[in-house]
Amino acid sequence: MSLTPGEQDRLLLFLQGELARARRNRGLLLNIPEATALIADSVVELARDGLTLDEVRLRAREILSVKDVLPIVPQLLTEIRVEARFDDGTRLVVVRDPFNQGTESIGESSEQAFPADGIEGELLKITNTASIAIGVSSHIHLAEVNPRLRLDRSRAWGMHIAVKTGDATWIEPNEVVEVALTPIEGNRVMLGNSGVVDGPLDDPEVRERALATLRSCGYLDERDGEEINSPDLALGAVHRLMSNETQVNT
């Protein structure tokens, strides 16, 4: 048979599943390892029976109910992960809400922008001129974001968007969003990102040089409502920044 380590683990899971079934058949309420094993083992066999991944995921929630387990188990055991061999090969099965309590939640809104009036009046308009959506995450230095985003980069200087840490604002093609701003903290030294800053954010020389460089390379910008650089310059802006080429401002 030339069992692989993964197959040996499958047999271990089977043994556990069978022991859990035997205990359940004696009328016992199952604990965490028992319930986990019984569901995981059943999932693998449903796949063996030829069901699809979507079918198995649904059926998996009906294998046990809250009545089959110790009362505290549904609070503590909220997800089971197991890999099963389907007709198209091995697949990951994630069983959320394993006792079918209607608590499955996936894809909660990640856009929790601040209410505009909470942010010291600092709102900034961003327009996505690209043909694809662009995400701007909570703590990226906003002045250096994708050249295809048109925004007042001088106002974005030293700032990040004020959303929950780790969240992102997605901007669809041709969409205009208003984001709240908040200053980057700490020593306010920017190393990395586009590399255009490479120094203290509050040094006026660094600021002017970097903003001028971005503009001259073709990053879309805006000043007092007036657009700087035409959208076609965005393509190649990063290349120009890398190769120190500048472009005459429009």
């Binding site: 692989t4 380590p5 993964g6 683990d9 499958r10 271990l12 899971l13 556990q16 022991l19 604990n31 965490i32 390892p33 028992e34 986990t36 094993a37 995981a40 110790l70 505290i72 188990v73 503590l76 089971i80 992960r81 197991v82 890999e83 091995t90 990951l92 929790q112 601040f114 209410p115 909470g118 942010i119 010291e120 995400g135 995450s137 909570s138 703590h139 990226i140 230095h141 004020a162 929950k164 840490t165 780790g166 969240d167 992102a168 709240a180 908040t182 200053p183 980057i184 903290e185 700490g186 020593n187 306010r188 030294v189 920017m190 190393l191 990395g192 990102n193």
Partner: protein
């Protein structure tokens, strides 16, 4: 600048699982019925460091492009630090070259305020958001009769062991330097700190000096090899000379010493009284009266924690089998029966709750269970608890029993026992639901050494069947780099070539006192009446009924 906006960032309850809880959050611990309250959180509201897609753990945001010498080798992010001394709070833990380098707010000081733990662009990140981090457990009473006992301990969250054998020997301390040398070589493969006790049941110091040369970390005096006036005094005199602890299993027959005489022989010197309740052995029925004294540091072994309905029934067989006795011989049965007393078991539990007995241990393979000290300690906290006393102080009292107090007792607290910068990064990460039952990850000297592993062929590391087993720190020659051999200063001075491990030298094992025991230190007079079957602490009778069910056990184990 104003941080008013930070107040809007998020409601506290949402954050668990993203980057851990906020101050004031209350977290349940499985079925323990003990609540953990977050006392404080580092000031990172609004720029929490965490890793992943679109997260702050990226170069130019939360990472700073400096070498690890200016940042750290490993960072554990946003963990619930549960420390017996410093309390329960949310912070990140930085680790450099195996030691805790800092605990606080993690991130990049160029873009974040109040950074305590600088995270470099090369720093290894262990995303521990919402997990509980405790110091590695210290089990100061282990009989290592088979090597896998260490696997059971690692799988339960123990990283430091004071052991007494190497193989199925009549050990209770080892005296042969040759045998000790082989034992040290073998134990190098486990990612743990391991010390071996020298057998100190000897009328002269010569066998003890050989054990010192064999790099023991302390001495064991045991009735099965002789716990007499002469052996006990010999051990204590040499212990005073070289600064190590003496672990004592007293004279259960009261053959040459009664408990009052043992106290007189100890004569105010520091000593570790093993299984002080007595069913593990020692003066029957009153060895428990050793507890509550400043110089006698008492511990319990785990089968009687908490005191359960089957405890008495189990122990008769356990004693007969463990101590080479014969169930057909009247005298042996009588001795065994004298050792198994429900009323002292009940009293022992009460003395733990009062802060009189400061330590728990396993007595693994010598009448205790290697992998059960963590869960039995907290199960005891649970069954003895009340809603009025469901506090962090209670959790930390019980945590101290299995971490800092055995470390202090055996002279190891300068290296282990708390989560403190400068100490070895021996850290257990627990999911709150599985706290004290099954660790998620055991870090030995800051390196993943043991923990939950899944189906090895799977697309994710954590699919069923999950097992507690070796991580990379238990592989190759990593254990000998990460682990420590515990020995005395004198033992360390011996030339040796039998272990590649670095050394923890025992310090201050002779000056440690009961009042030094963290979250304990309650002294007083324990009295035991064998005839009435009652135990008093000062004037209070200690009563307790055995419990028929205990938390953790049925919920988490097959």
């Amino acid at each position: 600048m104003s941080r008013m906006d930070r107040e809007l960032v998020q409601p506290a309850a949402v954050d668990i699982g993203n980057y851990g809880p906020q101050a004031g959050d209350v977290i349940a611990l499985g079925d323990l019925n003990l609540n953990l309250t977050i006392e404080r959180r580092v000031p990172d509201r609004g720029d929490e460091f965490h890793v992943g897609f679109a997260k702050t753990g990226r170069d130019g945001i939360g990472l700073t492009p400096v070498p690890t010498a200016e940042s750290c080798d490993v960072v554990l992010t946003n963990v619930i630090v549960m420390d017996p001394v410093d309390g329960i709070y949310v912070a990140s833990i930085g680790i450099r070259e195996g030691r805790i380098s800092g605990i606080g707010k993690a991130g990049n000081p160029n873009t974040m305020n109040n950074v305590d733990v600088v995270v470099g662009s090369g720093t290894v990140v262990i995303s521990a958001d919402g997990m509980i981090a405790t110091p590695g457990g210290v089990d100061a009473h282990v009989h290592s009769l088979t090597p896998r006992v260490f696997e059971a301990m690692l799988s339960s969250g123990i990283t430091t062991v004071i052991a007494q054998e190497a193989g199925p020997v009549w050990g209770v301390g080892l005296g042969s330097r040759w045998f000790l040398d082989q034992a040290h070589r073998a134990m190098e493969r486990y990612p743990m700190n391991i010390g071996l006790l020298g057998r100190a049941s000897s009328a002269t110091v010569d066998p003890l000096r050989e054990a010192i040369a064999g790099q023991v970390c302390g001495f064991k005096v045991h009735e099965d090899t002789g716990a007499t006036l002469r052996t006990l005094d010999t051990a204590l005199r040499l212990a005073d000379e070289i600064d190590v602890q003496v672990a004592l299993h007293t004279d259960g027959l009261n053959e040459t010493l009664s408990v009052a005489d043992t106290v007189d022989v100890i004569a105010g010197r520091a000593i570790h009284a093993y299984h002080v309740e007595g069913c593990g052995g020692g003066h029957a029925p009153d060895v428990l009266t050793l507890a509550g004294r400043d110089n006698i540091l008492a511990s319990s072994t785990n089968p009687t924690l908490p005191y359960g309905t089957n405890a008495v029934s189990e122990h008769l067989d356990m004693i007969l089998l463990c101590h080479g006795m014969n169930s057909q011989r009247e005298a042996d049965i009588r001795i065994a029966r004298a050792r198994v007393r429900g009323f002292t078991m009940a009293a022992e539990n009460q003395l733990h709750d009062k802060g009189v007995i400061p330590m728990t241990s396993s007595d693994a393979q010598g009448m205790g269970r290697a992998g059960e000290t963590w869960w039995r300690t907290f199960a005891m906290a649970s069954v003895l608890g009340s809603t009025e006393d469901n506090t962090n102080a209670r959790l930390l009292r019980y945590l101290a029993k299995i971490t800092i107090n055995p470390a202090l007792t055996h002279g190891l607290a300068h290296e282990i026992g708390t989560l403190t910068p400068g100490k070895l990064a021996d850290i257990i990460l627990w999911r709150p639901a599985q706290f004290a039952a099954k660790p998620w990850l055991v870090l030995k000297s800051g390196f993943p050494a043991w923990g939950e592993t899944g189906d090895p062929n799977a697309s994710l590391p954590d699919t069923e069947p999950l097992q507690l087993s070796a991580q990379f720190g238990a592989m190759g020659s990593a254990p000998s780099e990460l682990s420590r051999l515990i020995t005395s200063v004198a033992g360390n001075a011996e030339s040796h070539n039998h272990s590649h491990r670095k050394i923890i030298t025992v310090r201050n094992a002779r000056t440690v006192r009961g009042t030094d025991m963290v979250n304990h230190g309650v002294l007083g007079q324990v009295s035991v009446s064998g005839t009435s079957g009652s135990v008093y602490f000062n004037d209070e009778e200690l009563l307790g009924q055995p419990v028929s069910t205990v938390p953790i056990s049925r919920l988490h184990f097959w």
